[in-house]
């Protein structure tokens, strides 16, 4: 079975005919070519590398049926940069060295984006909770937490920076 869906990905409109069992991950990586959406487990929601924003909410795209995204606005790591510059989270990850191999980075940044949009006053515990579904094998998380605390300062300001 296939169905027709319309969606907005990183600001651009798309129409697809999708299979019922097609995941959003598959659609984004193989049909839209957004390879910044990663996969580090067997698409069973264990690693968080495939995290994207659907309507501003961070979700595992490997478990999310593409069909369900009909009409939604989707942001992947490729769509996060603002006006040609880096988003504050991207900038703090870069500056503080919260990146090593970089494979978990897109998911980490998007989980953070969802968190800080919702709760600009997020505590360290809130950050741990928000990242509990995102695995990193390189950094030991410390610089990631630091980078998020740094980025948080930008979000605390009243101006919304939704990408």
């Amino acid at each position: 079975m296939t169905s027709n869906i319309n969606l907005k990905i990183n600001g651009a409109r798309y129409a697809f005919s999708v299979r019922d069992d097609e995941t959003l991950l598959e659609l984004l990586r193989t049909r839209v070519g957004l390879t910044g959406v990663k996969k580090a487990c067997d698409a069973i929601g264990e690693c968080g590398a495939c995290t994207v924003l659907v309507g501003g909410r961070a979700i595992y795209s490997c478990l999310y049926p593409a069909l369900r995204a009909d009409g939604a606005e989707i942001v992947t790591i490729e769509g996060l940069a603002v006006d040609g510059g880096l988003n504050p989270i991207q900038e703090s990850f870069l500056k503080l060295g919260a990146i090593q191999c970089g494979f978990c980075t897109p998911g980490m940044i998007l989980s953070t984006q969802a968190l800080l949009e919702e709760n600009p006053e997020a505590s360290v515990q809130d950050i741990h909770d928000a990242l509990s579904g995102n695995l990193c094998r390189c950094t030991g998380y410390e610089k990631i937490i630091e980078a998020i605390m740094m980025a948080k300062q930008t979000y605390a300001k009243p101006v919304s920076r939704r990408g």
């Binding site: 193989t30 996060l80 870069l94 741990h128 030991g140 998380y141």
Partner: protein, 819 residues
């Protein structure tokens, strides 16, 4: 340059020592970084393999006909289709095929590979391959495998002990007879998984004469040698490329998927790329895990605390193939003999075949396991002697200038300072804890560990195996009578050809090719790979520091064998130190050319020039300067220019182990001390790590951001090894090949990590640097074990130290009731 001037130069480092964000960071935060997993090419095919469901079985027949006739299947191969199938893998012994043809030795052993137009078709085709197995008795523990009646995993071996060696210095028995106190115990470690976030991925194509491979490898040049040998394609027709790599940790030091995919692409031909990506489950079950081992340690000491004898024995479960296990056992002998001053040493190791997943190298290469045993025993010794564990270590540790019984020449060693700084950090807290523990369910304790590691490693591979796959000429001749490497002499004896006479690979080299373009920007080729540790940024910083070319004007290209900059690979904490030295050498040559040209332009002798921030200027009068871009243009656009293309080769001044296994295998060594504070819940057995202090003698830190990152990541993996991570096998079958059941510590379990660097410049290092890739993982498990003892008085001897084991131990000893 005078000593004073050299100090002056060093104090004024413009780039090195500064916190430089990694040069590939923007690609990584914006999602544009391309990993092998992301490569999609026109007319691409997708590969999949058939794996053994049995831990041990004879393959009676393989029928690929149904798979071959499935629409969309382009190629199916089995072991017989790969020219040198049996002589490709193997560091010390050639016991492993790329595709197993007549026998499988572990669950996940790969038998056949399929290339098809999409992944689903490839999977379907694999399910259509019919294999007739005859199951054989299997053995799943090293202890059992070593018994006389155990079924042999390999027929060629007389027993399941793949290798056994011992290293002896002085007289260990006499040492024990002099001892006032002797302690002895056995420790067990579990297999763990490297678990880099990107699973193994390979893309390969073959156009009839050129083989191309993109992959997640750590050793592209080594792979090129192996591919050349496997397919009989000369090295200049083999190109291995490493795009961004999503982590390695030792798991990509030679991995079979790379060769399987290349063999498939070679059979497919027609420049048709074949892509293979491991699932996470396959990453656990088909590729290597860290070895599990059993280590027995016996220490003897005088009552004042000085060690009189050290004896150790490791039994390493190699799994189905020896792989790196023999080298690892030797390496442990070196580590065992090189952290405490003791002349009477005996180390023996046994690598044992079992029908478990093959073991492979992982961060620390045996040092984590050895340290768990040895550092736990040092604490035990301290308890017996009633000496403070730090004081005991402090009086026994190796010092600068010492040559260890196994031959390590410790030219730069600041282990004493590492130990002192860690001790000082926890001094007040240790006193405080003695009072706070009494009536709480949560007992806190502090534990320590210290040690040494290498910075590069000269192990002495067999150069003939390296080139031909065979150690003996008659074996090569039997397999391939037309091999150009052997001939039959007049006496009828098969011999190596004249000139092919290096038995040992006596080198640990890296090289660098540095080109400065006519706009003053530089391209730096190295052989090693940045798998996430920030190596390319480090190399760029070294080149920038030396040449004055701005960081943003330097592009480091690593791990592309077509660049020609040979490097033996990224492992053994060697890249910054050895590839960094190669880069520095090349940078010095390039700078010489720049200065020569600039000297004309500035009308000043070269020894009065300095380069920084994109300019060359007079030391005494920096305002008089020229842009490097303008100097570089002269190199190309004028008659006397001659271009700026230089190369370098660096092989450290290390020594191959002699026939007794002794030698200074590295030119520089790394030293560390670590301390850990834990909290043990005596009701549940849960151990929480509250704080870690990690102090490292690393030489000059090139980029503090990345050096800290290595320590933090290593500590994280160390905590996993110590407390939560274990590949669980039942009759050789892995029970938890996923992140739900294989638990990598989540962010919330990460303690604060206090990092300290003892930055004493290493004279043999590039701008004073050594390395930091591995040692911070090494001391964590023993420090935690010692902290648990400190908290609740139980001695944990098995990794991981999960709550059920801690609780059982608490109940066994009844010690928590005493508290």
């Amino acid at each position: 340059m005078s000593v004073l001037e050299s100090i002056y130069e060093r104090d004024r480092l413009e780039v090195v020592g500064h916190r430089v964000p990694r040069l590939d960071g923007i690609e990584k935060v914006t999602g544009t970084a391309q990993y092998t997993t992301d490569i999609e090419l026109p007319k691409m095919l997708y590969g999949q393999t058939l794996k053994s469901p049995y831990p041990h079985a004879v393959i009676k027949s393989i029928d690929i006909s149904q798979a071959q006739s499935l629409p969309g299947v382009i190629c199916v191969i089995t072991g017989g289709d790969i020219p040198n199938n049996n002589r490709v893998m193997g560091i010390t012994v050639s016991d492993q095929s790329i595709l197993s043809a007549d026998r499988v030795r572990f669950v996940g052993d790969e038998i056949a590979a399929v290339a098809a137009i999409d992944e689903k078709t490839a999977e379907k085709a694999v399910s259509l391959i019919r294999v007739e197995y005859q199951p054989l008795p299997a053995v799943f523990s090293a202890d059992r495998a070593m018994t006389k009646d155990a079924f042999l995993v390999h027929d060629f071996a007389k027993s399941n002990v793949g290798s056994s060696k011992q290293v002896v210095a002085q007289d260990v028995e006499e040492g024990f007879s002099e001892a006032d106190v002797i302690v002895e115990d056995t420790f067990l470690t579990s297999p763990i998984e490297h678990a880099p976030m990107e699973t193994e991925a390979v893309v390969s194509s073959y156009d009839g004469s050129n083989l191309k491979v993109w992959s997640t490898t750590q050793v592209p040049y080594w792979d090129r040698v192996v591919l050349s040998r496997m397919l009989g394609i000369p090295q200049h027709r083999v190109r291995v490329i490493t795009p961004h790599v999503g982590g390695g940790f030792g798991g990509r030091d030679l991995f079979t998927l790379l060769y399987i995919c290349a063999a498939l692409a070679w059979r497919v031909g027609g420049s048709r790329p074949v892509k293979m990506v491991r699932t996470r489950e396959e990453e656990f079950t088909c590729s290597t895990n860290r070895h599990s081992m059993q280590i027995r340690i016996k220490l003897g000491a005088k009552k004042e605390g000085l060690l009189t004898a050290m004896q150790g024995k490791a039994i390493i479960d190699a799994g189905a193939f020896v792989g790196w296990a023999e080298a690892l056992g030797q390496a442990q002998g070196h580590l065992f003999a090189s952290r405490y001053k003791c002349e009477n040493i005996k180390w023996e190791h046994y690598t044992v075949y079992t029908n478990n997943t093959p073991g492979g190298p992982m961060r620390g290469f045996g040092n984590g396991e050895l340290s768990f045993a040895l550092e736990s025993m040092m604490d035990q010794l301290a308890r017996e002697l009633l000496i403070d564990p730090i004081k005991l270590r402090r009086m026994n540790i190796v010092k600068q200038g010492y040559v260890t019984p196994i031959g390590w020449n410790l030219k730069g060693c600041h282990l004493d300072e590492c130990v002192d700084r860690v001790a000082e950090y926890f001094r007040a807290k240790r006193i405080e804890l003695q009072q706070t523990n009494a009536n709480s369910r949560f007992k806190r304790g502090i534990g320590f560990a210290c040690g040494s590691h290498w910075c590069g490693w000269r192990p002495g591979y067999n150069a003939r195996i390296w080139r031909t796959g065979y150690a003996k000429p008659e074996e090569l001749y039997a397999a391939n009578p037309s091999s150009p490497y052997v001939f039959v002499g007049e006496n009828g004896k098969v011999q190596w050809r004249a000139g092919f006479d290096s038995e040992l690979y006596d080198a640990d080299p890296s090289s660098c090719i540095l080109n400065i373009s006519d706009d003053g920007t530089a391209t730096v080729h190295i052989g090693e790979v940045d798998m996430g540790q920030g190596l390319y940024t480090t190399i760029a910083m070294i080149v920038s520091e030396e040449t004055g070319i701005k960081l943003e004007d330097i592009n480091v290209v690593g791990g592309d064998t077509n660049s020609g900059a040979f490097g033996i690979g990224t492992f053994a904490s060697r890249s910054t130190y050895i590839a960094g030295n190669a880069a520095l050498k090349a940078a010095k040559k390039a700078k010489e050319i720049l200065f020569d040209l600039a000297s004309d332009m500035l009308n000043a002798p070269t020894d009065q020039l300095k380069a920084a921030d994109g300019k060359i200027f007079l030391r005494s009068y920096p305002e008089r300067s020229v842009f490097i871009a303008d100097v570089a243009l002269r190199a190309y656009a004028t008659r006397r220019g001659g271009g700026i293309m230089v190369s370098s080769f660096h092989d450290p001044d290390s020594v191959l182990p002699d026939s007794n296994g002794k030698g200074s295998i590295a030119e520089a060594y790394l030293f560390f001390a670590q301390g850990v504070e834990v909290e043990v819940d005596i009701e549940t057995g849960i151990v929480r790590v509250l704080e870690v202090v990690s102090c490292h003698d690393v030489g000059k830190v090139i980029n503090p951001i990345e050096a800290e990152g290595q320590v933090q990541g290593s500590v994280h993996q160390g905590i996993g090894h110590a407390l939560t991570e274990e590949v669980i096998r039942q009759k050789g079958r892995i029970q938890n090949p996923n992140f739900l059941n294989y638990v990598i510590p989540p962010s919330v379990q990460m303690p604060k990590v206090k990092i300290m660097f003892v930055e004493k410049s290493e004279t043999s290092g590039p701008l004073g640097a050594k390395g930091i890739g591995e040692p911070a993982m090494v001391g964590i498990a023993p420090a935690i074990a010692n902290a648990i003892y400190d908290a609740v008085g139980i001695r944990m001897k098995t990794l991981p130290m999960g709550p059920e084991k801690v609780l059982a131990e608490l109940q066994n000893t009844g010690s928590h009731e005493k508290l």
